[in-house]
Symmetry: C2
Subunit: 377 residues, 2 copies
C-alpha cells in the first residue's frame, strides 16, 4: 500500500472531474438531437444524464472544480441545466477531436495551476445504480492516481459477451481490489468476447479514468508529441482575451484520436509492471444506456412492469402485447398483439423499430444528415 | 324480361338513395371517433367515404332525392360535408335501432308521397372501384325493384372465405345477370365459408338493397307489426312542427333489428320463387374497408408501394421493413426492422398493432367506453 498516499477526498480537495459531453447519442433519435443530445435527456428519472453525472460527483468535488468539454450546439443547454458550474469551465470544442485532445486540454489547464491535481475523466451519459460504491471506488482510484505516474481505469465486470465495448485484461493484484492492467483490447468479435467473459480477468472499459495532471500531461507529450504543444498553447491563453480565438484556431489542428488509443494502449504495451495502469473493478450498477433497448432493459430491471411493457404515455391499453418500449408522452397509447417493439414519438418524428434493431437507429440519423434534413437531426 | 319495366334512371326519376350513416366504425380508432366516424374520414382519396357515396350516386338521383339516416353526434359534420343535400332529409336517430327502423322510416316517408318510389339503401362507408358498372348495376336493380313486390340485393362475388360477412345463396337465373335468392346466411364459420366460396352460387351480402316504397312498407307491416305503426306515425308528422318531438319520443320504441333479419330472411324462407328476392352479382370492385388491414390492402393493391409499406407521413426512412401501414401525418417516419405493423397516430392517441390484430381495435374503444374516457372515443 506504499505506492500511494492514503487520504480521503473531500470538497476543495485536489480532485477535478472532467466530464466529456460532446457526444451526439444518435441512437436515441428521435428524442436526441444535435442540440439535445443524449446527455441532456432525462432518460432515467427527473434529472438529465449530465445533471446526474455532476450530482453524484458533487460530494467529492466542489462545483468550481468541474470542467465540461462539449460543443457549440450543446453548450447553451448545458449551462442552463448546470447553472452552478463555472461558465468558463464549460468549454465548447470548435470541432470534435475525440477524447485525447479533450481530456488533454483539461490536463494542461490544470497542470499549469496544480500539477498534482487528480483528474477524473467521466462520460456524461451513463447511469450508476449504487452511488455510494461509485464514490468510494473513485476515492480509491484517486488515491492510486495521486501516486507516481499511475493511471487508473474503472473496469466493469462483464455480465454478457458484449461486442460493443472495449475490454481490459487484468493481471496481478495491487492492494485492495486494484489489479494491474495487462492489455487494452478494442471491441472483440462474439467468440473473443465470450472467451474474455469466461476467462474471468477481463473487464469492460468504462471510459472512466483517473490520473494526475502531471501524469496525463507527460503521457501526452510522450505519445502525442504534435498535439501536446497545441494543447499547451491553448491552455496558456486560458483566462486571457485571446483564449476563445486561440482555442477556435488551434484546436482543430489536434490529432483526432481517443485517449485509449493514444495513451493507454501504448502504455499497457510496456508490460503490466512498467505501464503503471491499474484497473479498479467497479461494482456499482453501471449502464451506459447505449440504445433504446438498453434503456428498456434498465427500466424493466428497476420497475418490473406488467408483461415487460414500458409505456410512457397519458393512459394505456395493452392486449396480447409484451416487452414493448413506447415513448409517446401526452398520448393515450394502445398496444395490441405486438411484442418487443420500440416506438418513440416526438412532435416532428415517429420511430418504429424492434428491441433487436434499436442499434440501427443511428442509420436513420445518418440518412437525415445525408439528406440535409437538419430540422430533424 | 316482362317482370319489370325497362327504363333508364335519370335525375328527377323516382329513385331515392337512402344512406345509412349512423355507424361508429370503431375499428378505425384512433382516427375514427364518435363525432368523426369512419364515413366522415377520407380513408381513400380526398373525399370522405360519405361524400364519395353521395357523389357516385348523384348521376342517378338529384341532390334533393337523398335521405341520410345518422345520429346526433354525426349530423353536424355530415351537413358540413354535404352542403347541397336538403338538411331536413338528414335525419338523426335519437337512438340507434339497427337498419330495419332506419330504412323503414325512409320507406314510410316516401310511401306517403310516392308509393312507387324506388328506394336504394346504401351503407355510407364502402369504396367502389368501378363507378360506371356500379351505377349500371343499380339501374338494373331499380328496374327489377320497380316491378311487383320485388326486392333486390347487390351480391359481391367472394374472393376469399371471409367469415365476417353474411352470405346470399343464389338459385335460378332471372333475366340478364339477376338470380333468384334462395337463402340468406349469417356470418359462417371458416369451414362453411370455404364451402360457400367453392360452391360458386354464394355471394356476400353487400348491405345494398333496392325496393319500392310500397314493397318495403308492406313488408314491414307484415314482418314488424309493432314497429311499422310507430314508423308510420313518425312519418306522418314529417314536415310539421311536431316531427322532432315525435321522432325523439317514438323512435326508441322501435324494435332494435336489422332489415336482413326482420324482412329478408323470413321472406327468403318462402322459397326462391315466392320470396321475390333477387340478387344482382356486383362486379364493381367493392370493398367495405372493414379495418386498418383492409385499408392497407386496398391501398397497396392500387399503388403497389415499395416493400408493401404504406406510410402517411412527412418524409420516410425505411430499413429492413415491409408490409407496414403507418399513419402519422406531418411527422418524419422511420421504420427499421419491422413487418406487417399498423401504427396510427393522432394528436391525442397512438395505436400500435399488427395487420393480423387490427380487427381487435374495437376492443380499445370498448375499453375507453368502459373507463368513460370520452375525450378519446
Amino acid at each position: 500500500m506504499s505506492e500511494w498516499n492514503r487520504k480521503t477526498l473531500a470538497k476543495n480537495s485536489n480532485f477535478y472531474p472532467v466530464i466529456l459531453a460532446g457526444g451526439r447519442g444518435t441512437r436515441f433519435w428521435p428524442l436526441s438531437r444535435k442540440k439535445r443530445a443524449k446527455q441532456l435527456l432525462a432518460l432515467d428519472g427527473k434529472q438529465t444524464m449530465i445533471q446526474q453525472t455532476v450530482g453524484r460527483l458533487l460530494p467529492l468535488a466542489s462545483a468550481k472544480s468541474f470542467w465540461i468539454i462539449t460543443n457549440d450546439d450543446l453548450r447553451p443547454a448545458i449551462l442552463k441545466q448546470l447553472p452552478k458550474l463555472p461558465k468558463a469551465q464549460v468549454l465548447a470544442e470548435p470541432l470534435g477531436r475525440n477524447t485525447a485532445p479533450a481530456i488533454g486540454l483539461a490536463a494542461f489547464l490544470l497542470w499549469r495551476e496544480q500539477p498534482d491535481a487528480v483528474i477524473g475523466m467521466f462520460p456524461s451519459d451513463h447511469v450508476i445504480a449504487d452511488e455510494k460504491t461509485y464514490r468510494s471506488t473513485i476515492e480509491r482510484g484517486a488515491e492510486i492516481a495521486a501516486g507516481g505516474e499511475n493511471i487508473v481505469v474503472l473496469g466493469i465486470r462483464p455480465n454478457r459477451a458484449e461486442t460493443g465495448y472495449g475490454y481490459i485484461e487484468a493481471g496481478s493484484g495491487f492492494g485492495g481490489d486494484a489489479l494491474r492492467v495487462r492489455r487494452f483490447t478494442e471491441k472483440p468479435d462474439a467468440e473473443t468476447a465470450a472467451a474474455f467473459v469466461a476467462a474471468g480477468n477481463y473487464f469492460w472499459n468504462s471510459g472512466m479514468f483517473l490520473w494526475s495532471a502531471r501524469t496525463l500531461s507527460n503521457a501526452l507529450r510522450e505519445h502525442l508529441p504534435k498535439t501536446a504543444p497545441i494543447l499547451e498553447e491553448i491552455a496558456a491563453s486560458f483566462g486571457t482575451r485571446k483564449f476563445a480565438g486561440t482555442f477556435r484556431r488551434l484546436y482543430p489542428k489536434c490529432e483526432n484520436i481517443s485517449v485509449d488509443y493514444a495513451v493507454l494502449e501504448p502504455r499497457s504495451a510496456k508490460g503490466e509492471h512498467a505501464g503503471n495502469i491499474f484497473c479498479l473493478p467497479a461494482d456499482f450498477g453501471w449502464n451506459d444506456l447505449g440504445s433504446w433497448t438498453a434503456l428498456h432493459e434498465h427500466h424493466t430491471a428497476k420497475s418490473s412492469p406488467a408483461e415487460g411493457n414500458l409505456i410512457n404515455g397519458e393512459g394505456v391499453f395493452v392486449l396480447n402485447a409484451h416487452g414493448n418500449y413506447v415513448h409517446a408522452p401526452g398520448k393515450f397509447v394502445a398496444v395490441v398483439g405486438v411484442s418487443d417493439l420500440v416506438v418513440v414519438e416526438t412532435p416532428d418524428a415517429l420511430l418504429i423499430t424492434t428491441r433487436q434493431h434499436a442499434q440501427d437507429v443511428g442509420k436513420v440519423v445518418k440518412h437525415l444528415d445525408q439528406k440535409k434534413l437538419h430540422r430533424l437531426t
